[in-house]
Subunit: 132 residues, 2 copies
């Protein structure tokens, strides 16, 4: 697969794919005779994984580190695992923060609904507590 196809398939821009390779997220992707990238199965799998991790908020740095460890062989397994656990916990924390935000927003939205319905009924009720 050439870069454009991969880009389309995973909804990641060609520029980003090249960028990922540059910074070490994708090791050297093989080129054909005229220097054009030819992505293989493994590359695609990696891209898919990276995309998933990135959209979950895992920093590029952490992914690079993970990959480097991975390429250093079996004896890095414990460190790799620790890295994954750390990132998992960070994601969990962010999810928690977002859930709190979500709750706040939902409460606010509900109160807007109430206020607007009241307004429609011509009650012109004071809208209060909506800008905490």
């Amino acid at each position: 697969m050439k870069i454009a196809e991969v880009s389309k398939k995973y909804e990641v821009s060609s520029d980003t794919l090249r960028y990922y390779e540059r910074v070490g997220l994708l090791r050297r992707v093989p080129r054909n005779a005229s220097g054009v990238r030819e992505y293989g199965e493994a590359d695609c799998a990696r891209i898919e994984f990276v995309k998933c991790m990135r959209s979950a908020g895992v920093p590029i740095e952490a992914l690079i580190e993970y990959l480097e460890l991975y390429e250093q062989g079996d004896e890095t397994a414990p460190r790799r695992k620790a890295l994954l656990v750390e990132q998992r916990d960070l994601i969990q924390q962010r999810i928690d923060a977002m859930r709190e935000g979500l709750n706040r927003l939902n409460a606010k939205i509900d109160s807007y609904e109430t206020v607007m319905m009241d307004a429609e009924r011509g009650m012109r009720q004071r809208e209060s507590g909506n800008a905490d």
Copy 2:
């Protein structure tokens, strides 16, 4: 409350508080005779809200817009609500993405656990499928 106290209370740096004010997230905080910020109840409530929204990933721009609408009076209520709904939905999407990442990570971590336990048992089993 002076800036240092607020900073401590909400774990937001003084620089960030001044920055928020500069960009319009906190309207003009009152100053005492010698120009020092004196944060009131309402300011604190706002800061707490902003902190919550920020850590949920709501962009500063959106918060500014919301506040501006708020200050323009009751007739902006529908637009404000729409803005909140939009942000809520974005948060929800991000949570979904993060949950997927979380699941992937947990699966991977589990497999590391298995592999490492096997290794301990001296089974030296090939660790496979851990760098998708």
